[in-house]
């Protein structure tokens, strides 16, 4: 039986259970505040947020693949499009756009104009080095690593620092072939 056709991001978002974005925003703010109080160093907080995002990403990709029925992506371009249009929409309720492809097709930018994580947020002067949404970069990195793509994800533009959009740069480092933990003949 042919698998079901992939659903659009809007259709999936309409079919999952949803919660108020403000609860989500305020909870995330509480997490960042706790991290800042415990770790105090902005770089440590960035790293911890990335790690938390990575943990989320490795589990999130299972749910994403299960609910969205996307077929295997042929190349990195398609992967980035799927993340921006389906993935972001399905979990955060906002779509991103993909731009700034480099010549080899291994680096692109995900542009977000609307980000539920940063409602009501203002960065104080003491925390200017903080990537407030670093959890997102961890999520993308973790999710892609589970589908055998090793990537490097960095923030290029940040609305909290005065830019007009959020720009997340995703760079494909290498494709890791699937490794099986056991040999067939043992």
């Amino acid at each position: 039986m042919a698998p079901a056709a992939p659903k659009s991001g809007d259709a999936i978002f309409a079919s999952v259970d949803r919660v108020n974005a403000e609860l989500f925003t305020l909870t995330y703010g509480a997490i960042v505040r706790q991290l800042l109080t415990d770790l105090e160093e902005v770089d440590e907080v960035n790293k911890q947020l990335d790690q938390m995002g990575y943990n989320i990403g490795v589990r999130l990709v299972d749910e994403f693949l299960a609910k969205s029925n996307v077929s295997r992506c042929v190349d990195f371009r398609e992967t980035a499009e799927v993340i921006a249009k389906v993935g972001f929409k399905m979990f955060l309720g906002v779509t991103a756009s993909v731009t700034n492809w480099d010549t080899e097709g291994t680096t692109c930018s995900l542009i977000m104009e609307d980000n539920p994580l940063v409602d009501f947020v203002e960065l104080p002067d003491t925390c200017q080095g903080l990537h407030y949404c670093n959890i997102l970069s961890g999520v993308v990195r973790g999710a892609l690593e589970m589908v055998s793509m090793k990537t490097e994800v960095t923030w290029l533009r940040d609305m909290l620092k005065g830019d007009d959009v959020f720009e997340l740069q995703v760079k494909l480092l290498k494709q890791i072939p699937e490794e099986y933990p056991y040999k067939d003949d043992e």
Partner: protein, 242 residues
């Protein structure tokens, strides 16, 4: 030129227009985030009481902000001065905004005048969480208890708020109860004069009419909640007229 039609960028976050609060994210995104919060805090503490306290602190921050947001948006900047007023605000408005539905019930204790209880069959935050046996009575609802505490403290009604599991017959998962114990200050003479107490006449009436009492079926739990009077549920609100 690209960007001509874009939304004006406000330099100060306070100048931005306030959203209507209708935006949503998926439940799984929130569940993942909450699980990371709990997991991170587990690495920072040695015992369950500390873990609950940290979750409560996180919730406290959320509650403080929710109160400000909702007072401005939903109630037109009117401040609650009555105890029952703030409790019903939490039970309906806050719950509705945060969790999409009003809380299942709001009850008042008859043994202690200063204790109230908000019950929920399944707290949203607990939906995807299972507690291992060696963690005993730990309840992630401590986060929600923190939210309630944040709202109450910042509204001027200091209280001790905790979350408990109450097993229910015929239901596999226990229901969760947020127990609110108000501090002495809410009952001071000044507070009475400022009409913060629910009407004493009503309290006497409640004590004198035992047939109105609904005793909890779960008398065998360690927290003995027998003798709770149903103050408000979704079906029959108790009127507080003199």
């Amino acid at each position: 030129m690209i960007g001509v039609g874009k939304i004006k960028q406000y330099t100060n976050v306070l100048d931005r227009p306030l959203s209507k609060g209708k935006q949503e994210v998926s439940l799984s995104a929130f569940a993942f985030l909450f699980s990371e919060l709990v997991q991170y805090n587990q690495t920072q503490v040695d015992n369950i009481a500390e873990l609950e306290r940290r979750l409560e602190d996180a919730g406290y921050a959320v509650g403080a902000r929710v109160l400000e947001l909702l007072c401005h948006r939903e109630k037109g900047n009117r401040r609650e001065t009555r105890l029952l007023g703030i409790l019903s605000f939490i039970h309906s408005t806050v719950w509705k905004v945060l969790f999409g539905k009003v809380a299942d019930s709001l009850e008042k204790g008859t043994e202690h005048e200063d204790e109230y209880m908000i019950s929920e069959k399944e707290l949203l935050v607990n939906r995807f969480i299972s507690i291992p046996k060696d963690m005993g009575a730990f309840n992630c609802g401590a986060f929600v208890a923190g939210i309630v505490k944040g709202v109450l403290d910042n509204a001027g009604f200091p209280a001790v708020v905790t979350a408990h599991f109450v097993p229910v017959d015929g239901q596999q998962r226990p229901r969760t109860t947020i127990l609110i114990k108000f501090a002495e200050e809410c009952y001071s003479l000044n507070a009475r004069l400022a009409l913060r107490l629910p009407d004493i006449h009503v309290l006497d009436q409640l004590k004198r009419e035992p047939e109105q009492r609904k005793t909890s079926k779960n008398a065998k739990t360690s927290n003995d909640f027998t003798g709770w009077v149903l103050v408000r549920n979704n079906v029959t609100p108790l009127s507080c007229s003199t």
